[in-house]
Amino acid sequence: MGMSNKMRQFTWSGYMFLVPYLLLFSSFLILPLIYGLALSFCQWEILSPAPPRFVGWANYQEALNSEYFWKAFWATFRFVLMAVPIIVSSALLISCGLNQVTARNRQSFYRAAYFLPTLISISVAGILWRWFYNNEFGLFNAFLADWGLKVPWLTEVSVAMKSIVLMTLWWTVGGSVIIFLAALKQIPDQYYEAASIDGAGTFHRFLYITLPLLRPVLLFVVVMSIIGSFQVFGQTFMMTRGGPELSTRVLVQYIYETAFTNYRMGYAAAMSWLLFLAIAVFSIIQFRLMRER
């Protein structure tokens, strides 16, 4: 009896410890989420004094029939499709390489070097890369000029999104590298030794030992970068403002413009929920595909 009392007291105090976080979490995440959901079924344009008015599915219908919504969705999707595989595989490659660097302080140096860009705020990184990418006096075109090349990095429809992906790779790869590196260190050396004795080469050791043992971490990194990539905004907003010809106007930017430039709160909320839905669907697919068999 006394024992169970103690247990109850214990859980109670546990919740008490959680209260500060839960308070912030619910007031800045849960409540706005519910409010946003309610708003997505309302017409609320703050340019007019009319209060929010319930309109059912009208906002969702408008989005699904809107050329601009699908253009923005497709731009986002193209970004995810390019960025996620490139960033994850580069991170994996870099971390495997770093894992081979045995001198301890040299490894920390490289690790820090890869991680540093992640610490730069997007406004700084965006402006920096906009200058790198400049047609006339940018760093990249200055190098390429030696071969007589001039790449319209951010000004040509077919190139702009790829340039954004390249910049994102530089900016975000460090985070995933650190996670992979930590996971690689968890794999016991004996496995590799045993495999070597059995005659497995570098590639086979990677394929049959490293990859399977990294699977949970890989799943985590892939899902997190899919979620992050669907929410891409800062890079495109800082570097192209969605241009040229809206080819890099991603969903979050379109939602931002709808809400805070055109003041259509209900419609913006509906599009946010559609984005959330897309992220949820793709995350679930990933979990299914990569679940431990």
């Binding site: 340019l47 007019s48 004094p49 009319a50 006339e136 040509e156 429809v157 040229p244 430039t261 055109n262």
Partner: protein, 439 residues
């Protein structure tokens, strides 16, 4: 022991600091003998320093009023200003561009200044150009005091003009005044300097598509909306012709670089461009380029009439102020326009004719050239959904200039979409009116 001493030092520092804070806070809180006016604007560049100087001067000359200025970046400025208005926390005085003014008027956030025009601190409205003063008018009320006017004008590279032999009798570079001379000059300047088969010196370049093309549309005389403002006429034949001319400069005459592969303004600064249309506000940027021999002139008449684009910074007063604050705000904004010659030095043109006739303004050469256009400048259409209009307009002309759609097709699509926006707004405001009646 040493640690303890360190603690003591820290502790006394903290106590002293809190005392200091307390004094400051209490000091600010004492009943004031002056009216405080908050003043918001987006002058984050060098113009901000000029404005701050004017504000300080005003505070010195008017001990009974204290103006606090806050600057923020233009791109997010109007979002913040509007939301502050909704939350009843807008500043007493703010700067609003002419094209955005309509949505603030419609939301009821700005106060008409007509009551102040006569009387002790009055102002002679005939001192404003008619089109500039009309641009802040709605239903015969005026909702702002214009501070300046910044038209689009022609900047040209004198060195390239002289090299190409485009000079007057005394050998000075001669800016074009009509379409034929303009195209001739552009053709002469456009050259492949190093003989590698690609052109590296261009006669003309598009800077900001929006203002450049809008000026041409104004010159061809095309309407953007009908008189009632409820139908978009962006695809009218005149506008299509104007846009076609703009496209022709790139694809037919080949005197302007295709926009996807050129940084226009940098090119002009580097001396690789003969002519560019830009706002007077870019002058400060050019003045930094000491190795460039440039000049300014009105935009040549390329279409049917003389016209160019312009906008103004307008000084607005919040709508729900008590009388003391209203009067103080008015005195402040009048003071700013009275002193707008100083403001003009940073690359603006004072809006009042009397100031433009002053000695101080006559010494500003390019400002004077650009100012000659003021009688025929065109402001952007005044509609509350201006940003939605811009996104359609910008997309259409970008597509046309890049050659991914014909001018007609691009403008047709934009017109259709803008008309949808108008429909939505009509529904919205008829609803809000019925809502207002219920109250």
């Amino acid at each position: 022991m040493r640690l303890l001493r360190l603690y003591r030092v820290f502790f006394s520092a903290a106590v002293l600091f809190s005392l200091f804070l307390l004094i400051v806070v209490v000091g600010c809180d004492r009943p004031s003998d002056h009216v405080t006016i908050r003043f918001w604007n987006g002058f984050t560049g060098p113009d901000g320093r000029t404005m701050l100087g004017l504000v300080r001067q005003f505070n010195q000359d008017n001990p009974d009023v204290r103006v606090l200025m806050q600057r923020m970046e233009w791109p997010s400025y109007y979002n913040k200003l509007f939301v502050a208005g909704l939350g009843q926390r807008a500043p007493e005085v703010c700067v609003i561009h002419t094209d955005v003014l309509e949505r603030f008027i419609q939301a009821g956030f700005v106060y008409p200044v007509d009551n102040f025009l006569k009387g002790e601190h009055g102002i002679d409205v005939n001192d404003f150009d008619e089109n500039v003063w009309k641009a802040v008018e709605k239903e015969s009320k005026h909702y702002a005091l214009p501070l300046d006017v910044h038209p689009l004008g022609l900047y040209y590279n004198k060195t390239l003009f002289c090299e190409a032999g485009i000079v007057d009798a005394s050998g000075n570079a001669k800016p074009p005044i009509n379409q034929q001379v303009f195209i001739d000059a552009a053709l002469k300047i456009t050259r492949d300097l190093d003989g590698d088969g690609t052109i590296d010196q261009w006669g003309f370049v598009y800077t900001w598509f929006r203002t450049n093309v809008y000026a041409m549309m104004a010159q061809w005389g095309g309407p953007i909306f009908n008189n009632e403002g409820n139908t978009c006429l962006l695809n009218s034949p005149e506008n299509v012709q104007a846009l076609q001319f703009c496209v022709d400069l790139i694809h037919k005459y080949q005197v302007a670089p295709p926009p996807e592969n050129y940084d226009a303004w940098i090119g002009f600064r580097q001396g690789k461009i003969g002519m560019a249309f830009e706002g007077i506000y870019m002058l400060a940027d050019l003045e930094k380029q000491t190795d460039l021999d440039y000049a300014g002139s009105p935009i040549p008449k390329l279409g049917k009439v003389k016209a160019t684009w312009a906008s103004s910074h307008n000084l607005c007063i919040r709508s729900d102020l008590d009388e003391d604050k209203q009067v103080a705000s008015w005195r402040f904004i009048k003071y700013l326009t009275d002193h707008s010659v100083d403001w003009a030095k940073g690359g603006q043109i004072p809006v009042r004719k009397s100031l433009r006739n002053s000695e101080a303004f006559h010494s500003l050469e390019i400002q004077n050239e650009f100012a000659n256009q003021i009688p025929y400048v065109h402001y952007m259409p005044r509609v509350p959904y201006i940003f939605e209009f811009y996104s359609e307009f910008d997309l259409a002309i970008e597509k046309a200039l890049r050659g991914s759609a014909t001018p007609k097709a691009a403008l047709d699509v934009a017109t259709e979409n803008i008309n949808k926006v108008i429909e939505r707004h009509k529904r919205l405001f008829s609803e809000s009116r019925t809502h207002g009646d219920e109250q």
